[in-house]
Symmetry: C2
Subunit: 117 residues, 2 copies
DNA sequence: ATGCTGTCTCGACGTCTGTCGAATCAGACA
DNA sequence: TGTCTGATTCGACAGACGTCGAGACAGCAT
């Protein structure tokens, strides 16, 4: 169901540690971009914090003053950025977060105390 | 010199912990958006990892196959997202990272192990 | 099969974004 | 003062983005 971005960057010294190589930047930037919209950031949070690790589109849509197609579009963006997985079960579609990439992004942003080694 | 975004969100339970409120999403999304371009992600990294905590535009520009105005535009975007500070010293302009907001972003993305409390 | 409900795709629209060249501003220095 | 260099702003352009309504598809229940 999902054309996923190939984000498996070897892994993640922090931004502040050394200069991020162009390939890493190219691989990770789309994920940040996907989070760069308030609606998607909230969607991501609702998905990632959902009870049982997943949440139905039918619970996401009514939380916004936006049409179904628009929410669907944002969910697709999150999917294509590799941030979430979708899974149809009967009538409903459930979304779950992909923790690995979230950890990569968090690691990249980690600020090492200036008074470190 | 810099019209800075007012990003001082009280602070940061992780995305995965509870649903991010709309105001927090609205405040932080621009920072993610700013990082959502490969060039800006590299610029941010070069700035944040610079020796002495700052770096001259004259050291940033030649690292890319882009014109000066384009780099300047990306730096302005980072500035307006509150991610960096600029500081002119004589002929040259130096950029430095703002660690507080980086920490907020990292905290937001922190994945709490599912087997937690 | 028919219909109903939830979700997605398609096509369109106005806006925003990344890039450039040309022009401008800020300091240093002769 | 005038001129040179570094950095920014301005104006323009093609392409991407967020949103919507209309339509299509998937699965359940008559």
């Amino acid at each position: 169901m999902s054309k996923q971005a190939a984000v498996d960057v070897s892994c993640c010294p922090a931004l502040t540690e050394r200069r991020v190589p162009a390939e890493t930047a190219a691989a990770l930037a789309p994920a940040f971009k996907a989070l760069g919209d308030p609606v998607r950031l909230q969607l991501m949070s609702m998905i990632a914090s959902a009870e049982g690790g997943e949440i139905c589109v039918c619970d996401l849509t009514p939380a916004f003053d936006l049409t179904g197609p628009t929410i669907s579009h944002h969910l697709r963006t999150l999917r294509e950025a590799g941030l979430v997985d979708a899974d149809r079960r009967g009538t409903w579609v459930y979304y779950r977060a992909r923790p690995t990439i979230l950890r990569q992004l968090a690691a990249l942003l980690t600020v090492t105390p200036p008074s470190a080694t």
